[in-house]
């Protein structure tokens, strides 16, 4: 049988981005450090071009490459978030790399390669393509974590991330073999139509599913696979941390959603409770452990664990509304986290990066605009209306309560109600440390002022993300995004 010509059109954004990345790699290799500015600018441009392409190819569900690759509204939505996240990370890194004498053009190129991997993950429709995308992404990120190779912290972060990440990949792969062994297929579409019978097959499939999910839960850094997060966040160069906190999380979450809702859709009653427990534990750990942190990057690591907990609560619902809430939350999370890291990147004193919470003391008097932006991000991360983070929490809680209302058994219903209640209560705990940062910024007496200027790119990112976070709840912003997320969620539910 002659294989048909693959439907290249649906993967056009990935193909173009890969091509552009390779060209930029050449430019960087030949141009050396001189070409850094050019490569960075062109990388951002490549992201922009790819976003346009994603928008142009956005349409009804289509598969290609022997059913390995799928494009739908869900994929488009997630890809755009990832591309925005990567572009923001590249823009924000400019000043930092210059000052730390890290001007190697590989930096933006690696980010772009990771982005291609993430886009593949988002469009994966088969365990094979899932793994290929995941590894492409991970390998690029391992290098990035250790990018500041002359400092011990960065090297340690890279190594730690690599060892633990490789372990997680191994677990995922083992799970994949189990799934294949017990079902005879790796295709998401075929898995989704499977009606597991009682007995050995179900048990094997369940274990396989749990292991595959574990690998992804590592990537989104949810409890109990969160250990690497604080160390890697703290050790990696700050722009890399900014990257880690946003784009890979979105991609891994997209993959998890597609896998759970699609391939393992028939097993929803089995995984629902697992995800629910992971969600609540992540909220709890993220909420409580962050309180004692004094390093702002570590604090953001725990904050992201807590946020992932809320996102997983939406996934645990296992409904279209649940997916919608995940999408909305991720869109908001992207902007408020990137913005917060923008402020952290501006924390520089006498030419050195500072990252203790106390270094923010009295920021409102020395740098009022930066202080206001950070305050907006913190209140938003805490989920206080009218800021963006509130809308995210609103949708997640709504999805959880809705899942409870439609649960098959009273026990499941109650577990959703309890999880929503706990989530609400823990959000008060998390609010404590967000408030603590605001207290340091607004109430404490000023420390020595931070260096000026923050840099045009960085200031721009902080301004845009702050405005987005502040104005998100207004009808002209929230309306289209919610509508779009709705369409994306529908496309996944089919």
């Amino acid at each position: 049988m002659i294989a048909a010509v693959p439907n290249f059109g649906i993967a056009l954004p990935e193909i173009i981005l890969t091509g552009l990345t390779l060209i930029l790699l050449m430019v960087g290799t030949f141009g050396k450090e001189r070409s850094m500015g050019l490569v960075s600018a062109l990388s951002v441009l490549s992201c922009a071009i790819t976003i346009v392409l994603v928008l142009l190819t956005d349409g009804a569900r289509a598969t290609g490459f022997e059913n390995l690759f799928v494009v739908d509204h869900f994929a488009s939505f997630m890809k755009i978030l990832v591309l925005i996240g990567s572009a923001l990370a590249i823009v924000m890194s400019g000043g930092y790399l210059q000052r730390e004498k890290l001007q190697r053009p590989e930096f933006p190129v690696l980010i772009l390669l990771a982005t291609v991997g993430m886009m593949l993950m988002i469009s994966a429709n088969d365990i094979i393509s899932l793994y290929v995308g995941l590894e492409l992404q991970s390998l690029a990120l391992y290098v990035l974590a250790a990018f500041h190779r002359d400092t011990i912290r960065s090297a340690e972060a890279g190594l730690k991330y690599f060892v633990l990440g490789a372990l997680a990949s191994g677990v995922l792969l083992y799970g994949a073999t189990l799934v294949y062994g017990f079902t005879g297929t790796t295709s998401f579409d075929k898995l989704a139509t499977l009606h597991p019978v009682e007995g050995v097959q179900t048990v094997g499939l369940l274990i396989g599913m749990a292991l595959v999910a574990s690998g992804l839960i590592f990537k989104v850094s949810a409890v109990p696979f969160h250990m690497w997060t604080p160390d890697v966040y703290e050790g990696a160069p700050t722009p890399v941390t900014a990257m880690f906190a946003v784009a890979p999380k979105i991609a891994a979450m997209a993959l998890l959603v597609r896998l759970m809702m699609g391939a393992f859709g028939p097993l929803v009653h089995q995984w629902q409770e697992i995800i629910l427990v992971i969600s609540v534990l992540s909220m709890l750990l993220g909420g409580y452990a962050a309180i004692v942190q004094r390093n702002v990057k570590r604090l953001m690591a725990y904050s992201s664990i807590a946020n992932v907990g809320y996102i997983l609560l939406g996934l645990a619902a296992g409904t279209e509304r649940g997916v919608e809430s995940v999408l909305i939350y991720l869109a908001i999370y992207l902007f408020m986290t990137a913005g917060a890291f923008g402020v952290i990147l501006a924390m520089r004193r006498d030419g050195h990066m500072v990252e203790q919470l106390s270094d923010l003391a009295g920021l409102s008097q020395t740098r009022p605009a930066l202080a206001l932006a950070m305050t907006i991000f913190m209140f938003s991360l805490g989920g206080i209306p009218p800021l963006a983070g509130f809308i995210g929490k609103l949708y997640v809680f709504k999805a959880a309560l809705d899942a409870g209302n439609h649960a098959a058994t009273a026990a499941v219903a109650n577990s959703f109600y309890v999880a929503a209640g706990l989530g609400a209560a823990i959000s008060v705990v998390s609010m404590f440390y967000y408030l603590w940062i605001i207290k340091i910024i607004y109430i404490d007496p000023p420390a020595a002022p931070l260096d000026r200027p923050a840099g045009a790119g960085l200031s721009g990112v902080v301004l845009v993300t702050a405005l987005f976070t502040l104005l998100f709840a207004f009808a002209p912003v929230v309306g289209p995004i919610v509508g779009w997320a709705d369409a994306a969620a529908q496309s996944l539910a089919r």
Partner: protein, 515 residues
């Protein structure tokens, strides 16, 4: 019907002023401009808000001046505003007190004036937005949004323990609020809409009502605040700057009472009837216990804060009588308390600005050197006690009439609270104003200046107006309350208890009041 979206304009006008202040140049003269811009914004907002009264039809008990727009399409969450005979007064109280607070902060706040004025104006937007929202999600957004500017006001411009007080205020209130959010979402999922008017007419099952009632209770009881979750209030009041205390006492606490009426009583009638005895008990404990606590305070602001908790006890008592007089009284008491306690905090602010202490024992004999101040304080003190002829009397009396019909013991016990109220306020007054002046710095304090008399005058006039001719206010409140009571008794299948009290008695109250 108003020819323009007046409620939205009143809501967002202060925000516009805040944006303007942000754009003003940061110079020495800039500080003066900031103050004047803030003042003018709030004064214009108040004048515009008076048009709400002009367009309001007192004969219509339902919601009026309704504005509707899409918010989040496809979800049933809409932007809807409107007022009825109850909420209109809270909107007006908010717009009325903000300029007074800004004037009171004219000299008291001298560092970071710009941020302070922005916070005050944002706060005004949130308050007005909350009372005029007719969509439960929109209402929640404003309800919780209040926390942000208030946290900053207490935290930045507060006293010694301001950080502790601000955190306690924020986290306490937030914990209640998030539970309320779950109840709001439960309502939304049941009815498929967040339109408050539709939800008011949607019945919920009894079991669900009880759960939702408890969630709302968690929020409103903290906000009110009710005993035993009132402990954040004395701290917040003591540490907040004068303007913050005024807004806190006058408006923020009323959000709890308004919420109880709007959500608990109107939307969850069965659960409200079920929990009424529980609310009675808590209210009575609040009235008696916090009055006793107030008696032993040595800090002026703390004393008034505890008296607020006691007065709010009358409000919850009135609301959960679930009859016309009780709810009427509760609403009136809230309005009266807004003016009177706001004024009392301003009174404390006057001497605090001069001597920088709130300790009662540091003062004494001020009646000789500050006669004007003594007079003003006396009027508000007596209004707080509930002397006939002042606004405080009407609300407490109506609430007690309402309670008497439902539970005589409750009414009896609550009445003892009035006696205790008189005790602690009179003791406070004696210790502040009578006796010999022993301290030179107290002797040297100047009497009220023109600015201070300027902001006390309208408060004084209102206190007497509400006490002598309450009908101007009650005429708008009554129809809306009557509708609530009718709806309530219809829903729970009981005959309205209000019928038991003859109209002449109500008349007698007013005659008594005007004497």
């Amino acid at each position: 019907m108003a020819p323009w979206p007046i409620l939205s304009i009143v809501t967002f006008l202060p925000l516009l002023g805040a944006a303007l202040i942000m754009l003003l140049p940061q110079t020495q003269a800039g500080e003066r401009n900031v103050r004047w811009t803030a003042l003018w914004t709030s004064v214009i907002t108040f004048i515009v808000s008076l048009f709400i009264l002009v367009y309001f039809d007192p004969t219509n008990p339902g919601f009026q001046l309704i504005e509707r727009a899409d918010w989040i399409p496809g979800t049933g969450i809409i932007y809807q505003k409107g007022v009825d005979g109850i909420s209109i007064w809270f909107v007006l109280v908010s717009t009325f007190l903000t300029p007074i607070c800004i004037i009171s902060a004219w000299q008291a706040i001298h560092n970071r004036v710009r941020e302070f004025m922005i916070a005050m104006l944002v706060l005004e937007t949130m308050m007005v937005g909350m009372f005029s929202a007719l969509d439960i999600i929109l209402l929640y957004v404003f309800f919780e949004g209040v926390l942000i500017p208030m946290f900053l006001i207490i935290g930045i411009w507060g006293g010694q323990r301001r950080v502790y007080a601000a955190f306690k205020f924020f986290l306490y209130t937030l914990l209640g609020s998030v539970l309320m959010l779950l109840a709001i979402l439960a309502m939304y999922l049941q009815t498929g809409t967040t339109d408050l008017i539709v939800i008011l007419h949607s019945p919920f099952s009894r079991e669900l009502q009880i759960w939702m009632w408890l969630a709302y209770f968690a929020s409103f009881a903290v906000k009110m605040p009710m005993w035993p979750v009132h402990t954040w209030l004395p701290d917040a009041h003591v540490e907040a700057p004068t303007a913050g205390s005024v807004i806190l006492a006058a408006v923020l606490l009323k959000m709890g009472g308004y919420g109880f009426i709007r959500f608990s009583v109107q939307m969850l009638p069965d659960a409200s009837a079920y929990f009424a005895p529980f609310m009675f008990s808590l209210s009575i404990v609040a009235i008696i216990y916090t009055s006793l606590v107030a008696l032993v305070q040595t800090d002026m602001k703390k004393l008034i804060a505890y008296s607020s908790v006691a007065h709010m006890g009358f409000v919850t008592l009135g609301i959960f009588t679930l009859n016309q007089e009780g709810i009427d009284g509760a609403v009136f008491q809230m309005l009266s308390h807004a003016i009177v306690s706001g004024a009392l905090f301003l009174c404390v602010g006057v001497v605090y600005d001069r001597l920088h202490t709130r300790e009662i024992a540091r003062y004494g004999g001020m009646a000789r050197t500050m006669p004007r101040y003594a007079l003003v304080f006396a009027v508000f003190m007596l209004a707080s006690v509930g002397l006939p002829g002042t606004s405080g009397f009407i609300g407490e009396f109506l609430a007690l009439i309402g309670a008497f019909q439902v539970n005589r013991w409750a009414a009896f016990l609550a009445t003892t609270g009035i006696i205790l109220g008189a005790a602690y306020m009179l003791v406070l007054y004696r210790r502040l104003f009578y006796g010999e002046i022993t301290k030179d710095d107290v002797r040297a304090m100047p009497d009220l200046n023109w600015r201070e008399m300027g902001f006390f005058a309208p408060l004084l006039a209102l206190t007497l107006w509400m006490g002598i001719y309450p009908s101007s206010f009650k005429d708008l409140i009554d129809p809306s309350v009557a509708q609530i009571v009718a709806h309530q008794s219809h829903a729970t299948g009981q005959s309205p208890r209000a019928a038991a009290i003859p109209a002449p008695l109500i008349h007698a109250v007013q005659v008594e009041a005007s004497r």
